[in-house]
Each structure stands twice: as C-alpha cells, then as structure tokens.
Subunit: 311 residues, 2 copies
C-alpha cells in the first residue's frame, strides 16, 4: 500500500514550480519541475497548470495537494494571510487556505510576517523549508537562506522568534550590471577563491565599515590600479556579504553555528564569507527541506490519507 | 578695457556643458548652457561643439579656454592625469593638459585621486568647485557635494586632505525603480517634510544600523501596514542619506559645519538629514563656485590675458 500516492506536495514560487507525489511513508513516487512560476502565469491558469502536472504524474482526481510559496501571496492564487512571529512552525497548517476554482482539495500554506517599527519583514516559502528543518529535528538554530532576498531566521523550540531579509543578492545584480561599477565589473564573476573577495569581507566586517561610502572604491581601483573584472566582481560580492554578516553579528553568539540552506555558487560565497568571519556552517538542501515541510503539513491537513500506514 | 573677454571658462561634464566668457576682472560677458555633455558626444565632435558655443558668444579666435570635468577623463577629450591627495587646489593648473585637434589654446584641468587600500577614490569636476571655494576664502572646511555620486571633501589650508564618494544618489535611483521595492515606491517622491524621512534618518544614524538588512522593511511595511508610495520613497531616501551621514560622523567634529554645494531637491534632502543629525549646514552655489575656480585657474594659465587690468 505504501506505493499509493497519499498527497501531492507543491513548492510554487515566483519563478519555478516543483511538484512531488508522495506515499504515506514520505517516499517520493514522482516529481516534476517547471519554470511555470506564479510570476509567469495569469491567475486563470493556476488550476490548469497544476492539474496538468498532477496528471503527468498519474495523480488521482481525489489526491489532495498542499502548496507553499507565492501561491498564497496577495497577487497569487488566493491570499493566505501571514502567520505572525513568534510563529510555531508545526501550526502553520492551521492558517492554510483552500484554493478556489479547482475540483480538488488544494490547501495553500501561509507565509510569515514580523511587525515592529523598522523590523517589519515577510517571507513566503522559506517557512516551509524551516518546517522541514523542524521535522528533521532542528528546532533551535540560526538559519541563513541565501537568495535574491536572503533570509536569516532564528528558531527557538520550533518557533520563528525573529527573522531578517537582506537584499544582498538583488543589490549585487543591480549594482554590478547597472550602476557605474559595471564599467569595472563587466562580465566578471565573483569567486570565493579570489583574494579580492576575502579582503573585501574583512573590510566589511570592520566596525567602522559603511557600504555606501565604500562601493565606489571598486570603480576607483579599476581606474587607478587597473583591477580586472573578476577582482571587481569579487570585491563587490565580498563587501555586500561582509556587510550582511556584520549586521547579523549580534545574533552570532560564541561558537554559534549557521545552518546554510541552499546550493550553488551563491551559497558557496556565503559559506566562504562566514568562514572568514569565524563562523562555522552546516549546509542543508533546500529542496529536500521544503519537501519534508510540505509532507509534515500534509499529514496533519489530510490525516485520512496517512491513516493506512498505521498497523 | 574690462568689457573685453579675457578667457572662456568651460565646465564639461558627462551630461552637460556650460561656457562662460569672462573679462579680466571676472565679470561675466556671456554664458551658454547645453545638454552636449561628454557622454553624449563622439570625440571627433568635441572641438566643433566648443567652437560653436564660443562663436555664439562672440569669442575671438585667439581667446584661450580652460576646461574642467569629464573632458579630462580617459574616455574624454584627452586624459589629464589625476592630481593625488593631498592636493593643493591652487596648483591644479600645473597638471593641465592642452586639448588636441583644435586651433586654439584649450587647457583641461586634472581630476583628483586618492590612493590607499580600501580608500581609493576619484573626482573630476568637483575639485574645480573646491578651487572656487578656496578662491572665495574657504580654505579649511568640510564640504558635501550631493549628486549621483556624492562627494565629501575635507579641505585643510587649501589642500584636499581626504575625500569620499558615496553612491547614494545612484543607489536611490536603482533601488527605487528596479528592485522589488519599486512595488512599494511606484511613482512616489521622497520629501524631507515627510515623517517617514526623518524617522528613517534617525534609524540609520543608530550605531547598530545596517543598510542591506533594513531596506526590505520598506516592502514589508507596504504589505503589512499599507504604507503609501510617498512614505516608501521618503523612507528609502532617509535610510540612504542617514547611512551616508553616519559613515561621515568620524569627520564631523563637535560644532563642525558642513558646506553643502548644490541646489534643488536632493540638496534639500541632504540639508534636512544633516540638521536631523545635529549638523549645521551652509549652502553654496555649485555653478558659481566652478566659475570662480575656472577663473582662478585661467588667471595663472594665461597671465598675459589678465595683465591689462594692472595699473
């Protein structure tokens, strides 16, 4: 019986869609990935796109679905209002919202918000990865999720106590491609192994460092010292990541380890910068975590689908 | 005799061209402004464009010309290599370079550079405004020149001892128009009078403030509290200007007054933010200063043109 699908799990972000069919024991029966993110579709297509992927995976008409990500944003399929910090991750499903316009039980998980003057923040999708971390036994930890908008999240006893978004990834793209610094950076790529990266991280960790007044040194160095494009790109990356880590220092206690969720070049840069800052890191697979988080929610949202594995 | 032109003074930047005809007593005989900045012209047109404006002003074929700005950049008319800090402003003319391809005595003033790891910086054009300040008796002062790339310059006994470029203006344009924050800022305009501006400046002056981790609060505030576009734009401006002023605090001694060179909306925002930071400001006209600086250089570059006013 364990090869029968218990639920479909969907991670639906702005740029990508990922669907898993799982059995009641969390075994993966099938998986689809697609660039049909929420941001690429008009709302009238959400139901059809989802049904197409479920059909391709052989999902039955009564198969229930749990969805995380931008599907629950105001401009998504239907708004799933934010859960507020402190947020108990295993209670996220309580605020799930049923998707309209589809002849199937589809529940969309909420995002998480933080209020308080100057600390206002929101997330959609990352909370489900963190639920997956909790389901894996990581209930007390500091997480860093590198991305266009990186998140730093403190978990205490399975609750999000506090989180912070850093626009580092987006700033790197804008500044390297469109500011005057693109004259120095060109097609250069940032590399954690480049000496300019490490030097810039160190500079940015200095208490007197200021990002806005140091960025232009990249252009000046190009003009005065003929620094090449890879050096300029690595310096920009190092200054931005160093500034982000410096801002998180108050949350990095003695011997604190950071759980780094992600993969690829950006996550490597974060790992290198954190190491330079004397911070130990552990790498976690974000896709694996979101699937575990969705599975954890599905089990409590659709208990009848999981009852069969009981003896 | 004082109504006879002694020299032409030219401020030639990336986006604009400004030409004055002056007599030997610094009286302005005529003036032209044009959007024919260096960045809008191919090099083969520099001489022709200058001659056209001189002709329109009735400048004689033997009228000498002194030029400041991007004309002396590597990609300009001809490179006038940077003078290095500490830079005696009244000696700038020593490094002036003669423009090629024109049948007239045209001298291009150098920019200024600063070397030293992490502090590398360059300016072209601002140094001539500062020479104008020195010619006006301001030889020891801290100057702020708001712009796309704002400059903070320390003058000591008529020398540029140190300067810093802040990319604040360019960051505001990029972030407000092209980052995710444009969803909250839209067509909103920053206003020094908006409460969100002052609040953001205060936040950014806090020693624990970090720009990269606070920017996203503008988006979150829009989503959570329905902040309007003018509020979002004013908050972004306040955070950026506050961060810039915070970085300059070590140079702002007790009772230090800042000479603010510029005009218009951006300069008003700087004046308001500096006032919030408890710093006194004096406003100076940048166009007037560059003309005085150019005149000061012309008098030493072309002494025969100014001899006639001696008794």
């Amino acid at each position: 019986m364990s090869t029968q699908a218990a639920a479909a799990l969907v991670d639906w972000g702005t740029s990508n869609l990922r669907v898993w069919l799982v059995d009641a024991a969390a075994g993966v029966l099938g998986e689809r990935q697609s660039p049909e993110g929420m941001g690429t579709l008009t709302p009238d297509r959400f139901a059809g796109v989802l049904e197409t992927h479920l059909a391709a995976l052989g999902g039955a008409p009564d198969l229930p679905v749990v969805v995380a990500g931008m599907a629950g944003a105001r401009a998504g399929w239907i708004e799933a209002p934010y859960a507020e910090t402190p947020t108990c991750l295993t209670d996220l499903h309580i605020q799930a919202v049923s998707a309209p316009g589809i002849d199937r039980d589809v529940r969309i998980l909420p995002g998480v918000c933080q209020r308080g003057a100057g600390a206002e923040d929101v997330m959609r999708g990352e909370e489900t990865q963190l639920l997956g971390a909790v389901a894996s036994g990581l209930s007390d930890a500091l997480f860093c999720l590198p991305g266009t908008h990186s998140k730093w999240v403190s978990l205490q006893e399975g609750r999000i106590s506090r989180f912070t978004t850093a626009m580092t990834g987006e700033l790197f793209q804008l500044i390297s491609r469109q500011s005057i610094l693109h004259l120095s950076i060109g097609e250069g790529r940032a590399s954690a192994g480049h000496p300019a990266f490490g030097q810039a991280v160190e500079e940015a960790l200095d208490p007197d460092f200021s990002l806005t007044t140091r960025l232009f040194s990249i252009r000046a160095r190009g003009l005065l010292a003929g620094a090449d494009e890879a050096s300029a790109a690595s310096r920009l990356s190092g200054l931005l990541l160093g500034a982000e880590i410096a801002a998180m220092r108050p949350r990095l206690g003695e011997g604190q380890c950071v759980q780094l969720i992600g993969s690829g070049a950006l996550t490597e840069l974060y790992a290198a910068a954190l190491t330079l800052a004397g911070v130990e890191t552990v790498s976690l697979d974000g896709g694996e975590l979101v699937r575990r988080g969705l599975f954890s929610a599905a089990r409590v949202l659709f208990p009848h689908r999981f009852a069969e594995i009981l003896p």
